[in-house]
């Protein structure tokens, strides 16, 4: 794929094309840009709103626009459009059940080496706690395009957790993803590895190294609501590994565990994520992941260990 195809540009390009036809589509940015957004701003200036670096106001204003019949996208750097205005998302969007799309760019440690103010390592826990808010994570170009189209065709209150950088292709096309909220990328047996977004790529690489185990790898691109069929499918495995670029409290792995517990499914589960701390270290995203428990070798080891223990 074209390495310059950033998720934000892919997404905005889709919205731009839709907005050219539908003048009720509004795009609000809290001073966050993208090459594709430059086209939107230039050609549809009335449908673009600069909110100022005011995420709280941006969400409240989005509520007023949506209550007036507009289809609204709000866009900013991930940490600021998720946790900084969480109260507004709850009160002004969720309480009124307003179908606003929240575009959060640069999840996980994507903004390394900016440090913890710019990392998003708690957002899954926080965002999925908001009543009725859907949480989606694309892992490549096709999945990003699919989600953009989804927001246009089926508006709902959603956060789209986008990557800062371009990622290699996982899907050949949007059709490969299916409509189920998750996709089995690698079909194996015994152990099922679940991940999403950036970490899905590491999980796939780790699974490739575990030839003796031959685990399945699943892209859970819709973290909330969790698809029931996914949980049902987990019952066919002996163990489950979850991999996330989040601190573990209430995150991706927690969501999977809750889904399993709710139907009484008991399997050994290994949750891999970041330690409960903030990261001020320099060295880049890969360095941080490699040194804080999310190296490909760490994931491969967890898969192998679980395969041995689950078989006992």
């Amino acid at each position: 794929m074209n390495k310059e195809s950033f998720q934000r540009d892919i997404f905005i390009e889709e919205i731009f094309q839709a907005a050219r036809i539908d003048r009720n589509i509004f795009f609000i940015s809290a001073d966050f840009g993208a090459p594709a957004l430059d086209d939107f701003r230039a050609q549809l200036p009335e449908q673009f709103v600069h909110s100022g670096i005011s995420e709280q106001h941006m969400i409240d204003m989005a509520a007023g626009l949506t209550l007036s019949g507009k289809k609204v996208y709000v866009y900013a750097m991930a940490p600021f459009i998720t946790l900084r205005c969480l109260e507004q998302t709850k009160t002004s969007l969720a309480l009124m059940d307003l179908p606003v799309t929240i575009l959060a760019v640069g999840v996980g440690l994507g903004y390394a080496d900016a440090g913890p103010t710019h990392y998003n390592t708690e957002d899954i826990a926080c965002m999925r706690s908001i009543v009725g808010l859907e949480v989606w994570s694309p892992c490549d170009e096709a999945s990003t395009r699919m989600m953009a189209k989804k927001t246009i065709l089926e508006p709902a209150l959603r956060v789209i957790r986008m990557e800062r950088h371009a990622l290699p292709a996982v899907y050949r096309s949007e059709e490969d993803m299916g409509q189920g909220g998750y996709t089995k990328i690698q079909n194996g047996s015994g152990i099922c590895v679940l991940s999403c977004g950036h970490m899905l790529h590491r999980a796939l690489e780790a699974a490739d190294r575990c030839t003796d185990v031959n685990p399945s790898v699943v892209d859970v691109f819709r973290i909330k609501p969790l698809k029931q069929e996914l949980v049902d499918e987990l019952s066919t495995y002996q163990g489950v590994v979850t991999v996330e670029e989040q601190c573990l409290s209430g995150g991706f792995g927690s969501a999977i565990l809750e889904g399993m517990a709710d139907v009484g499914l008991q399997r050994p589960v290994r949750r891999l994520g970041l330690p409960e701390r903030y990261f001020f270290e320099n060295g880049g995203r890969d360095y941080l992941l490699d040194n804080f428990g999310l190296a490909v070798s760490d994931i491969a080891e967890a898969i192998s260990d679980l395969a041995i223990n689950a078989a006992k």
Binding site: Q56, H57, D60, M61, A63, G64, L67, T91, M96
Partner: protein, 277 residues
């Protein structure tokens, strides 16, 4: 004649509000009663544009009680103008009714769910911008408490409304000087209030929030100012109209009262209403 009719409406509204609060034994009398003359002028002084019985009209004016604890001020008015079933007033705060202390958009006519402070101006800005974009004549009235001047999001939205020249957006600031722990100027100074809103680009008018003539003049001029959003600073008395509650921060929330006191206040409010022709 108009003044007399507004007096009568205000007396009616106070009586009904007291009946609802005392029956439900919950709510925020201080913050609701300070708004009576403001809302009576807005709805019965020919300011607020609406079609009776049609809360869904997209071209009507909007009203957001951003100080959500006072949202119940709208219920008797909405019942009176046909937005709401009148029987709902008697069910206020009960499991059988739809009317709550804090309002939400499932209640006919309510334009924004409120209760958490500092959201109303941003939501109002969104409404105002959409109305302009759609060519709708709607004006958006946002009732803020002075306490919301402590919320940073209020100023984010004020900055935006001014830059966008949202001249269809009107802030009504209920300046009753009381927050829960006492006087605002002793707790954390808000003055100079007018200058603060002016510096954010608002056309500011300061009025006695219990004077119909001053309120009418302020409202009648909102379309003729300098092209930006408007802030009407309404100087009010918390708990206005019920001596026991006036200017007493403890009546921010319903305190309970014995039957004799309740009946005495009830008959006083009724007498005031009946005395007005």
């Amino acid at each position: 004649m108009a003044e007399i009719s507004l007096d009568k409406k205000a007396a009616w509204l106070r009586r009904v509000i007291f009946e609802m609060l005392s029956k439900a034994e919950q709510g925020h009398p201080g913050s609701v009663l300070s708004l009576v003359e403001i809302m009576v002028t807005l709805f019965y002084g020919g300011i607020f544009r609406y079609k009776a019985g049609n809360p869904e009209d997209p071209g009507r004016d909007r009203v957001i009680i951003s100080k959500g604890h006072a949202a119940m001020i709208l219920y008797p008015i909405f019942a009176d103008i046909g937005f709401l079933d009148k029987d709902e007033l008697g069910l206020f705060g009960t499991p059988e009714g739809i009317l709550r202390i804090f309002s939400n958009t499932s209640i006919p006519g309510i334009d924004a769910t409120s209760g958490s402070l500092g959201h109303g101006l941003g939501i109002g800005a969104g409404y105002a911008m959409a109305a302009k974009y759609d060519g709708q004549p709607s004006r958006v009235f946002v009732v803020l408490s002075e306490g919301e001047m402590y919320e940073g999001s209020t100023w984010e939205s004020a900055l935006f409304a001014s830059h966008r020249e949202l001249d269809n957006l009107v802030v009504i600031l209920d300046r009753n000087r009381n927050i829960i722990l006492g006087d605002t100027e002793e707790s954390l100074r808000l003055e100079p209030i007018e200058e603060k809103w002016q510096s954010f680009g608002f056309d500011v008018v300061s009025v006695d929030g219990h004077s119909f003539s001053e309120l009418e003049e302020a409202f009648e001029n909102i379309d003729n100012l300098n092209g930006g959003p408007v802030a009407i600073v309404a100087n009010t008395v918390k708990g206005k109209g019920i001596a026991l509650m006036e200017d007493d921060a403890s009546w921010h929330y319903w305190q309970g009262m014995d039957t004799a006191t309740r009946e005495m206040i009830q008959s006083q409010l009724q007498a005031v209403e009946e005395a007005i022709q």
